[in-house]
């Protein structure tokens, strides 16, 4: 099944079966945001703890399909250690890869923040109904960053 191989890459299945940074963080110092997909019932909670301007820790709680869970796991790894500006730049790049218009940015995303393993999620674009699954954690992280900034 060539189409499915694009979707269910080995690295995605690995993150699904062995999710990184699962759990909860104490609020405060962390901030939390909840996201859900009303179509499929997937629910996710993202915790972000900042150290100054830097993302010190990310934790993911909730449940969902392989795409939403692996995307959340990979995101938690990719975000840890970045400045909030870098985190937002990566968010912008990821949503661009998912073919989603980002109203905060009219420009093409820069390449200064590498996608790394996240490129494995590119195959999701061929399955439009699953794009919402892939970006759920990212939109929830954006909420968490917004509430940390305010």
């Amino acid at each position: 099944m060539p189409g499915l191989e694009d979707l269910y890459r080995e690295i995605i299945l690995d993150h699904y079966k062995n999710p990184r940074n699962r759990g909860q963080l104490e609020v405060p110092p962390a901030v939390r945001a909840d996201g859900h997909n009303p179509l499929c019932g997937d629910e996710i909670t993202v915790y972000v703890e900042l150290d100054g301007d830097r993302v010190a820790r990310v934790a993911i709680d909730g449940q969902g399909c392989s795409i939403s869970q692996s995307s959340a796991s990979m995101m938690s790894q990719a975000m840890t250690g970045r400045t909030t500006d870098e985190a937002r730049a990566l968010l912008h790049r990821f949503k661009h890869m998912m073919s989603i218009a980002d109203h905060d940015h009219s420009d093409e995303p820069g390449e200064e923040v590498p996608l790394g393993d996240l490129e494995a999620l590119q195959g999701v674009v061929k399955f439009p109904v699953r794009i919402k699954c892939a970006v759920l954690a990212w939109n929830t992280l954006a909420q968490a960053l917004d509430s940390a900034a305010s």
């Binding site: 499915l4 269910y8 299945l13 499929c40």
Partner: protein, 412 residues
Amino acid sequence: MSAIDVDTLIQDFPLLSAAPEDGRRLIYLDSANTSQKPFHVIEAMDRFLRESYGPINRSAYRLAAAATDAYEGARHRVARFINAASADEIVFTRNATDALNLFAQSWSRAHLRRGDVVVLSHMEHHANIVPWQMMHDEIGIELRWIPLTDDGQLDLADLDDLLDGASVLAVTAMSNVLGTINPVTELCTRARAAGAITMVDACQSVPHGPTDVQAWGADLCAFSSHKMLGPTGLGVLWGRAEILEALPPMIGGGNMIDDVRLDGYSCAPVPTRFEAGTGQLVEAVGLNAAIDYLDTLGMDRVRDHERELTRYAIDALTAAFGDDITIHGPSDPDLRGGVLSFAFRDLHPHDVSQILDEYRVCVRAGHHCAKPLMRILEANATVRASLYIYNSPDDIDVLVEALSSAGDIFGF
């Protein structure tokens, strides 16, 4: 009574008999969601649009009279199909949700007061929950709930207590998640004894077996055209004449009036008073053709076909996957319709549905518009395979093959 010959019948359904893609034919297991259409329905609507289309209830010329006859003919056809006492008891609505809302909202506002009781069940579709919750918020009616047994049937042990002092019982004839067929006649009898009127959500039952609303002893029921081979955009509210007479219309406008003056209006008789604006004429013609198709098959044969196919499916899935599959609802096919919601290993329903799609197997993954029930099942979502007249044991065999492949991909 001979069994339905699916190989022959499927030739009536353009989508199901289309040439295979990549060697795979379409296997449609989502009829509890919406059904496929035979060319009889497609061509009846097409022919009507080409040859007889005109306004209804408006004009004196012959074309308009013929169009009105077609619309009213469909109303009579529906009445006969469910054994209503009269075609005047059939209201055409936009869909079944519209019919359920018309009754819940209009009846509550006209006849219920703060503290009056409406009894629902834990297996209701959102369309038979949310309108009542809106009336709870607006009027202060009390909602009571019939719980479920462990195998997904209504737990009627405390029904008399629940019905004590109740004004309305609104309950589904068949669960769209569990497949459970409820004892509608018993429910209506006991509700009547308690002084409550009954609304039966018949969306999942009318397409799949014989319906006799008078034998039920119900006061109202609702169902949709698109789940029974007919077009979208059309639902049916049946109500006993005296109930409909006491139900105020919710939408005002043309068609539904008897007279309009600057200082007020008077309504047309039932059922026209509930059909404001231009009705779903073409859709009614399509539903008429769909009912002709189903009646030619015979609703007893439809029920027998689905019961035996459900038995085959439960046996095949259990034999192939054992404890790796959990099929919700009663295990006895005599107690259920052809709706199979299940959990498969630890796989998320979206992933299962995605992999099944590669085999061109169409199933629904999600909460099926019954979130209170999903919480009772402790599932955020299930996979649901639902059967109809055009499904065969071959379809079930491909479902089993595709599920095996899903297990392989995830290595569970």
